[in-house]
Amino acid sequence: MMGFNFRSMRAIYQRELYRALRTAFQSILAPVLTTSLYFIVFGAAIGGRMPDLGGVDYGAFIVPGLLLLTLLSESTSNASFGIYMPRFTGTIYELLSAPIGVAETLVGFVGAAATKSLILAAIILATATLFVDYSIAHPVLAVFYIMLVAASFSLFGFILGIWADSFEKLGIIPQLILLPLTFLGGTFYSIDMLPDPWRAAALFNPIVYLVSGLRWTFYGSADVPIEISFGLTLGFLAICVAIITFIFRTGWRLRA
């Protein structure tokens, strides 16, 4: 039987969003609070003593970086919990026995995780206007890029959630790899500010390209060309899709 089970996909998507709604307060309040803190510390306290970067006020300069910081961690954790919890509680039996393939599952789970991230992005951008004055040079591209990043890292989180066989493992990649790379990836500074060996080294950090890409959509200039950022993000997305398709084919960590 060929095809795509639209109703199944919709059921998964709606339920995942509903589950988020149940804890809406926490899942929105926490990131808003963290973002505000960052703005107060980096924007107001330190930012006053920082020079403009590429003609952009420091407070405004860090908006895309902060946004990305939240996008990456929220997309990853939303999607990884979304699939890890059913495995943990055993409710995954229903998904495995349902007439759905990888496509419905992905659009359902990852789509919901990405949607949550987008809503969060909007809230963070709104919060940011309370602290700094910024504008977006390429709003359409910015929205597109945010969606791309949210989808990619939701896929990445989905893989984590299938790979992890304990809560510790679930947290380890975001904490030990993603977070440091994000901080080192030019979230709060331009990598042009780094002395030379470090500047070259930074280019091996994939997050640099993400931050740079998003910053470009905001201010029209960035550390690396926008085409490279887009290309790498799309490549990452494609790799994640390939891995998940493979997981579903083989049933790895899903079927006994």
Partner: protein, 338 residues
């Protein structure tokens, strides 16, 4: 295929029904040489051949670890078989898994649900997940039939264990499956609820659903099943008509505690399959055939005791347990599979 009341068939379903009507007569599921060896090396299912007929209730009996859940998992997509084939609704499940799964329901052994979800949401979700359009009336019907309607807005965690199991059943029924697997539906369920569940399973059969259930209780198989399969250590030891099997293997045990111990069996009891035990203070009966013959014989035995003026102070009757049947099966025809 028996028509179900109040259900609109989609075009696809009708097409499926028709081709089945023609060729496949009444076989709904056929397992051939099905084997599952888990990564650890344990073979939980060993070359299983099994045929399930359309519309029947089939009880799979077996002790803990026999491979019942593994067998169900293989058909429902939770377990990847190591070898063998599964044919369901007339086609290899490799080819028709999508349409087949849409018509199969599963009530798992473990009580696994999203505990924070309200009952009606959980059930509606299942319907959607299996590709059907929302249908409030149908959900209400399912919830009412399981006495869950009053609890529809409660979070599942607030329900008792038996009620949680009903929610799982409701979820499995929400997409109107033609083939329903119930993995120990009555484990941890009290007598009343168990009776309720038997009634419900009977009703589902009336509507044309084929039901495969697992259980440890032979009385359950006795109460409901048309046919019974006994599985042990991954092998199907025998498959038979329930009545035939009960007659062949069922036994009744009765222990009669005598008021005064007897030195030897009185002549009056010579026609009964009884022995004296515990220094002559207990009279033990072991006989019958699982069709009520044993109980009748025990009744006769008590009358014979009264006639012979032998006083007794207690009677315990026990119908043969599954374990007894296994012992018999394994001792008698160890290698021979049905």
């Amino acid at each position: 295929m028996p028509l179900r009341k109040g259900i609109v068939f989609t075009a696809m379903e009708i097409r499926l029904c028709c081709c089945h009507e023609r060729g496949m007569d009444d076989i709904i599921l056929r397992l051939s040489g099905l084997t599952k060896t888990y990564p650890g090396g344990l073979t939980a299912m060993n070359n299983v051949d099994l045929t399930i007929r359309r519309g029947e209730i089939f009880a799979l009996l077996g002790p803990n670890g026999a491979g019942k859940t593994t067998l169900i998992g293989a058909v429902c997509g939770l377990v990847t078989p190591t070898s063998g084939t599964i044919e369901v609704f007339g086609d290899n499940i490799r080819n028709n898994w999508r349409s087949a799964r849409a018509r199969i329901g599963l009530v798992p052994q473990e009580l696994s649900t999203d505990m924070f979800e309200p009952v009606h949401r959980a059930v509606s979700y299942s319907r959607g997940l299996f590709g059907l359009a929302p249908d409030k009336a149908r959900i209400e019907e399912v919830l009412r039939s399981l006495s869950l309607w009053d609890k529809r807005d409660e979070q599942i965690r607030a329900l008792s264990g038996g009620m949680k199991r009903r929610v799982l059943i409701a979820k499995a029924m929400a997409h109107e499956p033609d083939l329903l697997f119930l993995d120990e539906p009555t484990a941890g369920v009290d007598v009343e609820l168990r009776k309720d569940m038997w009634r419900l399973i009977g009703e589902m059969r009336e509507r044309g659903t084929t039901i495969i259930l697992t259980t440890h209780y032979i009385e359950e198989a006795e109460e409901m099943a048309d046919r019974v399969g006994v599985i042990r250590k991954g092998k199907v030891l025998m498959v038979d008509d329930k009545n035939a099997m009960m007659q062949r293997l069922g036994t009744t045990e009765a222990v009669i505690t005598l008021a005064v111990p007897l030195a030897q069996l009185p002549l009056a009891l010579k026609d009964f399959p009884v022995t004296l035990e515990n220094g002559g203070s207990k009279l033990c009966y072991r006989g019958g055939d699982g069709s009520g013959k044993g109980r009748a014989e025990v009744a006769g035995l008590t009358k014979a005791l009264v006639r012979a003026d032998i006083d007794y102070v207690g009677i315990e009757i026990r119908e043969s347990s599954l374990e007894d049947i296994f012992v018999g099966l394994v001792e008698n025809d160890a290698g021979e599979a049905a």
